[in-house]
């Protein structure tokens, strides 16, 4: 049991330590694709260091929500990390504390607070970004629900550790249409939820066109560092859910031996870097959608998710 | 053997007329081919009557001819012959390529003849599809924007129907395979039908009814029909309206035999519903129609509705009446189209409002138009009067009072509408100028075409009567 707790904490450490690296690799690769040199892959760590050692400015008009939000945003992905398989294929100590719906709820809580905080400041861009985020969120929620329904239809469970085994036992399950359609729908969800192209341009610097980024504009110093780090961890966690729970459990440790668990860390990073290359390909080949086209994008995701559910329910 | 010759003959004429560019040569080839086809068809129909079990088999499982098919085949060849003669005079001043017209015309006749001759459902579907393919160029033959629009609508809608029908046929095959049927033919299906799941037969029947119904021109799917049947050159209209619809209806009829054979599926409400709709809607549209060729087209939809009602009633009396209605409609409608084409030749307009005093301007066209109108609307002593009367009688004997009441009132509305328009065209007002003479071949066609319309109303030859009786038994139910 002690080992179980230790491994669970190890997962948290892995997520905390490597999420900036994943971001750095992503940014570097994107620049490389555009024939630029790009920043070092360790740039996010330097950014965090810089922000932590700076002073913080908080507006007099803001309330406690503004000050609490960075901590909520930072802690939410850590809680989710306890629930999902990051390193091991078997359930760890807190695995049964909540299922995928619970994990989605915790992640959404962070998003909810960041929206409130953006409205809380008097900055005109914050509320604008918040309302847009909410619009995307409203459209994304039914898709999330349908994805969970599908998972529960197919695997009879929404506990991530149980779901992940379903896709490869027997191997032919991997090619089930429910599985493939689910992957497509969830990928579209990740793009929308994390404000990647084609829904939002994460590297845009034009406040009027921002959706996701504009919410954190008012933060500085330590709070800004926590917000950014929390955001990266959320991205890392979502990638983990996609790769380990929905795609395959390959590369995860299957025994309780220390060696197995430690060797799982580079394997997971390899999987994530593979996924990042795929993401870079998507982002470099698509243009940002007009705001009102986002509803079409999300409807397509919804349609695919419903098809996945039907394929799962009727098969 | 004769069946294969009949199948190949239009193909050969198409090929030969493709070799020559001269109008005169093409006309001679087509008319000769159609006459030979007609003689062969009559001969084959006679052979069917005397054959064992009343069926001629050329290629087991693929090509055969039964009594119902023989009726349709004779009608196809008769109308093809009349149309080919008519086209000589009608297309006199046409500047488009005569070669294209004649090749397509013969290919169209080939596709039509393939429907009753093939008994494999896959082949039948291909034949139905081919009628669309070969007639679509004929519909758009005039190359005007509205002709092309009509051709486009015709093609898209009927192809859509064909896809649905294909699905229905595949479902039937599925069921038949399940029931261990030998060959995928009409008779094989009828044998297999009792051991097929009823829900599958119902589904297949509805798909075929809607799919083939698009091509027949049943009401919600009829929108292409008035356009195509009014824009095509008149000889083609006669084929489209007179026989293409009925040839496809024949396929539906064979499907109906399968449905009846399964005993646990009831198709009659579907048929009565579609029938009443297809009879009622065009009856009222006929009241306000502005173009007389469209009037003829709507009357086709209306007659398809009557035939469907007869089939929906079921029983051998109604089935025989349905066959008489099919024959009557084919000969009468083609005659009326020839008459309308003559009016078009004389007046050069398709608007009802600008045609007056035909009886003075061109007595031939006027009398033909009037006779055709009376005959198609169901006035005695023409054949359609008797067939509609027998449908009525069959319906009343089965105490379908509501259906029959509606049928009679719709027919009355249509009768009033048609006669209103026709009498205005023929008698109303004075002609603007004295008429042009109709070409000789047009005269010849009108005279030839009116013979069956009148004769069949007064006297039905014994052979035809027996053929219709036999044909009605294959529907069953």
């Amino acid at each position: 049991m002690i080992k179980s707790i230790i491994f669970n904490s190890l997962q948290v450490i892995v997520v905390m330590v490597f999420s900036p690296l994943a971001m750095g690799v992503l940014n570097r690769l994107k620049e490389n694709v555009q024939s630029k040199r790009g920043p070092s892959i360790f740039q996010p760590y330097l950014d965090l260091w810089k922000l932590f050692s700076k002073d913080e400015v908080v507006s007099n008009e803001s309330t406690w929500i503004f000050r609490v939000t960075p901590y909520v945003v930072f802690v939410a992905p850590i809680f989710v990390t306890l629930l999902i398989p990051v390193l091991t294929a078997y359930p760890l100590f807190w695995a049964f504390m909540a299922d995928m719906v619970g994990a989605g709820f915790i992640l959404a809580l962070g998003g909810f607070f960041s929206i409130l905080a953006a409205v809380d400041t008097a900055n005109p861009y914050g509320p604008m970004g918040s309302s847009r985020t909410r619009m995307v969120g409203f459209l994304a929620e039914p898709v999330f629900l349908i994805v969970f329904f599908t998972v529960s239809f197919v695997a009879d469970s929404t506990i991530p550790y149980i779901v992940q085994q379903q896709w490869v036992h027997p191997m032919s399950n991997f090619f089930e249409p429910a599985h493939i359609l689910l992957l497509i729908a969830f990928l579209m969800l990740i793009l929308a939820e994390k404000g990647r192209l084609p829904v939002d341009n994460p590297s845009g610097h034009f406040e009027l066109a921002m959706i996701d980024e504009s919410k954190g504009l008012e933060y500085s110093g330590r709070a800004a560092a926590l917000m950014k780090w929390g955001g990266w961890m959320k991205f890392f966690v979502l990638m983990n859910i996609f790769l380990n729970v929905l795609l395959t459990p390959w590369g995860l440790a299957s025994t309780w031996a220390w060696g197995d668990v430690l060797i799982a860390i580079p394997l997971i990073l390899l999987k994530i870097f593979g996924f990042i290359i795929f993401l870079v390909l998507i982002e470099s080949s698509l243009a940002k959608l007009r705001l009102f086209r986002i509803s079409e994008f999300m409807t397509a995701a919804f349609a695919i998710a419903v098809l996945a559910m039907m394929a799962g329910a009727f098969a | 053997m004769i069946l294969i010759i009949m199948l190949l003959l239009p193909l050969i004429t198409a090929l030969v007329s493709g070799l020559f560019a001269q109008k005169r040569v093409n006309e001679i080839i087509t008319v000769t081919g159609s006459s030979v086809l007609f003689v062969l068809a009559v001969w084959a129909a006679h052979a069917v009557l005397n054959a064992p079990q009343h069926i001629l088999i050329a290629l087991p499982g693929w090509i055969a001819l039964g009594p119902a098919g023989a009726v349709i085949l004779v009608l196809i060849s008769l109308i093809a012959l009349l149309s080919s003669i008519y086209s000589i005079g009608y297309m006199r001043y046409d500047t488009n390529s005569p070669r294209t017209f004649h090749v397509n015309f013969n290919l169209f006749v080939f596709a039509l003849a393939a429907i009753p001759l093939s008994i494999n459902l896959g082949m039948v579907w291909i034949a139905v599809e081919m009628t669309t393919l070969f007639s679509v160029l004929l519909v758009g033959f005039d190359n005007t924007p509205s002709a092309l629009e009509a051709a486009w609508k015709y093609m898209v809608l009927t192809m859509m129907g064909a896809a649905l029908a294909l699905f229905g046929i595949l479902l039937l095959y599925w069921g038949a395979r399940h029931a261990n049927m030998g060959a995928f033919t009409w008779s094989g299906l009828v044998t297999a039908a009792p051991s097929m799941p009823p829900v599958l037969i119902t589904a297949a029947f509805i798909m075929l009814l809607v799919g083939l119904g698009t091509k027949i021109g049943l009401v919600p799917m009829h929108t292409w029909l008035p356009d195509a049947h009014s824009q095509a050159p008149t000889p083609v209209c006669a084929l489209l309206s007179g026989i293409e619809t009925t040839a496809v209806l024949y396929v539906l009829l064979r499907v109906l035999a399968v449905v009846h054979a399964s005993n646990s599926v009831h198709a009659s409400n579907w048929l009565l519903g579609f029938g009443l709709l297809s009879l009622g809607v065009p009856a009222f549209l006929l009241l306000q129609v502005k173009d007389y060729k469209r009037m003829l087209a709507f009357s086709t939809v209306e007659h398809m509705g009557i035939i469907l009602i007869a089939l929906g009633l079921g029983g051998s009396a109604a089935n025989q009446a349905a066959f008489m209605q099919i024959i009557g409609h084919a000969v009468t409608k083609s005659f009326w189209f020839f008459a309308a084409g003559s009016v078009l030749l004389v007046t050069n307009t398709r608007e009802i409002a600008s045609v007056h005093g035909l009886i003075k301007r061109s007595p031939g066209a006027g009398i033909a138009m009037l006779t055709g109108g009376l005959a198609i609307a169901g006035a005695p002593p023409f054949i359609l009067f008797f067939s509609e009367f027998s449908i009525l009688k069959a319906g009343l004997l089965q105490s379908h009072y509501l259906v029959m009441g509606l049928t009679v009132s719709f027919i009355a509305v249509a009768f009033f509408a048609i006669m209103n328009h026709v009498s205005r065209m023929v008698f109303g007002g004075d002609p603007d100028r004295s008429g042009e003479r109709l070409p000789g071949s047009v005269w010849l066609t009108l005279v030839l075409a009116i013979i069956p319309v009148i004769v069949l109303g007064l006297y039905i030859p014994d052979a035809l009567h027996r053929l219709v009786e036999l044909a009605a038994t294959i529907i069953g139910g």
Partner: protein, 228 residues
């Protein structure tokens, strides 16, 4: 061979899933060219389903169907459609449609659910637990979606895409429920489709010459209009 059957079944199911997505794509495509791409991919799915079902139990008919599809619908027909149409048909522009895209997608979804509820009783009645369970509902759904596309699109090529989607869907069901339908029929069917494209090309070309566009929605002179 028999140990492959579960994998074949689920691979076939996967092509079914992708097939229905491409049907959705044809409904939602905003540009003519992307609609055509969806159609090509759809035909590819149909061909691979035919090949998969042809492996076990071995059926040369299905291999023939797959090959015919590959040659005609994946290669020849798109090539014809691109060759025969005026260049402007494929320029990057948005197709006008009667219903907006999210609503169309929702309607297509409803049609799919409807198709499942209608066709599963057939599968139960046939006691067929094989591939028909996947292919028949998807075929019916594709059929309905194709018909829907046909009614909401107003341009020539998108309408043809809807039509061909219907045809593809019929065959998608067909490869599962009629694997031994004589191949001569299949050949002629494919031939039919080709000939059909040829005629479509001819007709739309003349429509284009006569009205200056492939926007057949403008063609509405022929109808019952009391004011005329």
């Amino acid at each position: 061979m028999s140990h492959l059957i579960p994998v074949i079944k689920s691979l076939n199911a996967l092509t079914g899933g992708l097939f229905i997505i491409t049907a959705f794509g044809v409904v939602a495509a905003r540009q003519v060219r992307s609609g055509l791409k969806f159609f090509i991919f759809q035909s590819l799915c149909l061909a691979s389903s035919a090949f998969l079902l042809g492996i076990a139990p071995f059926s040369p008919h299905l291999f023939a169907v797959g090959t015919i599809n590959l040659v005609t619908k994946v290669w020849l027909l798109p090539w014809l459609l691109i060759r025969m149409m005026p260049r402007t048909t494929y320029t990057r522009r948005e197709i006008k449609q009667v219903v907006n895209i999210p609503t169309s997608l929702m309607i297509a979804l409803i049609l799919t659910v409807f198709a499942y509820f209608v066709s599963l009783p057939w599968v139960h009645a046939m006691a067929d637990n094989g591939v028909a369970r996947i292919n028949v509902p998807i075929g019916l759904a594709g059929m309905l979606i194709g018909a829907y596309t046909l009614t909401t699109r107003r341009e020539a090529i998108p309408q043809v895409m809807g039509l061909l989607t219907m045809e593809n869907s019929a065959f998608f069901a067909g490869v599962a429920i009629a694997p031994d339908l004589p191949v001569i029929a299949e050949l002629s069917l494919a031939f039919d489709v080709l000939l059909f494209a040829f005629i479509v090309g001819l007709v739309t070309r003349s429509v284009h010459e006569n009205t200056g566009g492939t926007f057949v929605g403008h063609l509405n002179d022929l109808r019952e209009d009391p004011s005329k």
